[in-house]
């Protein structure tokens, strides 16, 4: 099932436009613009999926001590913050660095949540370098089957 989350068309530009539109639609369903704080990209990379019952946020943050990750929700903004210490500061003098692509330092990413979520039921798990945050939708927002009498 995760494949559908990861397998996107390779035509990135048109796809990116489409996703932006979808994101606008998802977060802006009530006529509210997407949060200005939620636009930036950076570390960790984030994927978001939705189910009728929850919003699932996957933050790709490898090599982090899970106890030092901070996840918080404030006024509809989900914040993921933490720090990945630089390893190069520990290395000895007689070294040559050929590649230094991995992120180091402190990070913070903010995801704007839709209005129908229940922040008290948020669960977060860290596994294989991915932080998965499940934000349940509030009871009232979940689809219900209406019985016809």
């Amino acid at each position: 099932m995760y494949e559908s989350l990861l397998r996107f068309p390779t035509d990135l530009f048109s796809e990116f436009d489409r996703m932006q539109q979808e994101m606008e639609r998802m977060f802006g369903a009530l006529g509210m613009p997407t949060s200005i704080r939620a636009v930036a990209r950076g570390f960790p990379a984030v994927n978001i999926g939705t189910t009728p019952k929850s919003i699932e946020v996957y933050a790709f943050a490898p090599g982090i001590d899970a106890s030092r990750l901070e996840v918080s929700v404030d006024r509809g903004l989900l914040t993921i913050a933490g720090e990945r210490p630089s390893e190069s500061s520990e290395v000895a003098e007689k070294v040559s660095v050929y590649a230094d692509e991995r992120f180091s330092g402190s990070f913070k990413r903010v995801v704007s949540l839709p209005e129908d979520v229940d922040p008290s039921g948020i669960q977060a798990r860290y596994r294989d370098g991915v932080l998965r945050i499940s934000v349940p939708r509030s009871e009232a927002a979940q689809p219900k089957r209406i019985e016809i009498k």
Binding site: M1, Y2, E3, S4, L5, L6, R7, F8, P9, T10, L12, E15, M19, E22, M23, M26, R41, P44, A45, V46, N47, I48, G49, T50, T51, P52, K53, S54, E56, Y58, F60, A61, P62, G63, I64, E87, S88, V91, A92, K94, V95, S96, V97, Y98, A99, D100, E101, R102, F103, Y126, R127, D128, G129, V130, R132, S134
Partner: protein, 126 residues
């Protein structure tokens, strides 16, 4: 994907995305090279480190736990796999590579071959 019909429908408009290039740090010291690669979302059993001649390749498949019926709504990671390869120079000893993988970070230690290790030459004074 359990639903075969849906799979076929998807294949028409969705070509498989190319593998992601994992971010790496490569540091050389006197006794060898340390390569660190970020491959978040890859469980240990889906990681492959291979030596083919002088070519070192690292590959990993992303496996995320997803609830049933989840629809993607936004994605920055858009491929299910990581892949990257490197050619090693002859002064490195591929038979002695040590690999560790934890929390989505792969650490490879590739020691230099015996003959390439730095040697201190004692200068004798007559």
């Amino acid at each position: 994907m359990s639903d075969g019909k849906q799979d076929i429908a998807r294949r028409e408009d969705v070509r498989p995305a190319p593998a992601l290039l994992p971010a790496v740090d490569i540091v050389e010291d006197e006794t060898g090279i340390t390569l660190t690669a970020d491959m978040p979302g890859v469980p240990k059993e889906k990681l492959t480190v291979r030596m083919d001649g002088q070519n070192l390749s690292i590959e990993g498949e992303i496996a995320l736990e997803t609830p049933e019926g989840m629809e993607p709504s936004y994605a920055e990671i858009r491929s299910p796999a990581y892949r990257r390869s490197f050619s090693l120079s002859r002064d490195l000893d591929p038979s002695k590579i040590d690999a560790q993988f934890k929390d989505g970070v792969l650490r490879l230690r590739i020691p230099k071959a015996e003959h390439a290790q730095p040697r201190k030459i004692t200068v004798s004074v007559d």
